[in-house]
């Protein structure tokens, strides 16, 4: 039995029990580090898994690609799978068996493929770090709703001026208004996704504190604020155009 089939078998038998209870999740690690023919076979199987997950991700984001042809997709998939496999093998010692190995492996390929698609999507586009000179929003058809939303927007703009640093404002505008993907922006600024997300988190905390102090947000909100009109109420991602279909 191969490492893949063992893992798939665990997948099939884990339906009635929590995934973390699946037995023997370390078989892959043994196979990948043991040497000999079993290691070679495990490496081939792992690459097949990486191709599968990378293809899944690239096809999901295919409309965002400058060249969405099947041959171009194939190149991206193979490159992402190769790079993800290298990244995974470097982290193999950190696998703790909290999920199935295949799931753990998939996330490396998905991350690599998604990052590559977003990079290609923006490779010929300039990334501008600008302040609050954002274009005007279209007026809402309901004047009352528009007035409420405009009032909150004005309060948020004032808070951005008052409590954020120029750098925080520019990062907020780039990521949340202009929809520049976080890893693209990180790459252009010579930083990383984690550092930019920390900036984003900190500025959101400041804005929420200011808006709460000024009575625009409840003191102990049970739910995240959603000032969008009722017809647009859904789970809103901060960077809605950030390379997702």
């Amino acid at each position: 039995m191969t490492a893949v089939s063992r893992d798939e078998q665990r997948s099939n038998t884990s339906v009635s029990s929590p995934p973390s209870d699946a037995p023997g999740p370390m078989d892959w690690v043994e196979a990948l580090t043991g040497g000999g023919p079993e290691q070679s076979a495990a490496l081939r199987e792992l690459h097949t898994l990486m191709l599968r997950a990378a293809a899944h991700q690239v096809w999901r984001m295919r409309p965002a690609l400058p060249d969405p042809s099947p041959s171009a997709v194939d190149v991206i998939v193979n490159q992402a799978a190769d790079e993800a496999m290298t990244a995974l093998l470097a982290k193999l010692h950190t696998f703790e068996g909290r999920s199935r190995f295949t799931t753990w492996a998939f996330k490396f390929a998905i991350l690599q493929a998604a990052t590559e698609v977003r990079r290609l999507q923006w490779q010929h586009r300039e990334v501008e770090l600008r302040d609050l000179d954002v274009p005007s929003a279209p007026r809402h058809e309901d004047p009352e709703l528009y007035a409420e939303g405009n009032d909150l927007a004005a309060a948020v703009a004032a808070a951005m001026r008052g409590v954020l640093t120029p750098y925080q404002r520019r990062i907020a505008i780039a990521l949340l208004v202009d929809g520049i993907p976080i890893d693209v922006l990180a790459d252009r600024l010579g930083t990383n996704r984690g550092a930019l997300y920390k900036t984003l988190h900190d500025l959101r905390v400041r804005l929420r504190a200011e808006l709460t102090a000024n009575g625009y947000l409840p003191v102990h909100p049970a739910n995240p604020p959603d000032p969008a009109p009722s017809d647009a109420r859904s789970r809103i991602s901060p960077t809605p155009t950030a390379g997702t279909p």
């Binding site: 997950a53 753990w104 405009n150 927007a153 984003l200 929420r208």
Partner: protein, 79 residues
């Protein structure tokens, strides 16, 4: 004279405002999100009512991590 453009109060769309005011507490970094994404995805596919507040807050606030977590869940779910 300031060179910083004055903000247009009508410039931020409701969607922008929602994103700017997103509550991303409790704090979780992108690295921690990646570390937990596999077990989180499996748990959620197994039980759609499963909750991890820190992961949920992070995914609401980080579109890239959110896309990748959603994609992983769909891959596991065969969608």
């Amino acid at each position: 004279m300031s060179t910083t453009p004055r903000p247009d109060s009508a410039a931020l769309t409701p969607r922008n405002v929602s994103a700017l005011l997103q509550d991303t507490t409790p704090w979780l970094s992108c690295d921690e999100c990646f570390e937990r994404m596999d077990s989180y995805a499996e748990a959620l596919v197994h039980d759609p009512t499963y909750r991890d507040e820190a992961m949920a807050a992070h995914l609401r606030g980080c579109a890239a991590c959110d896309e990748e977590a959603e994609s992983l869940m769909r891959l596991l779910d065969g969608r």
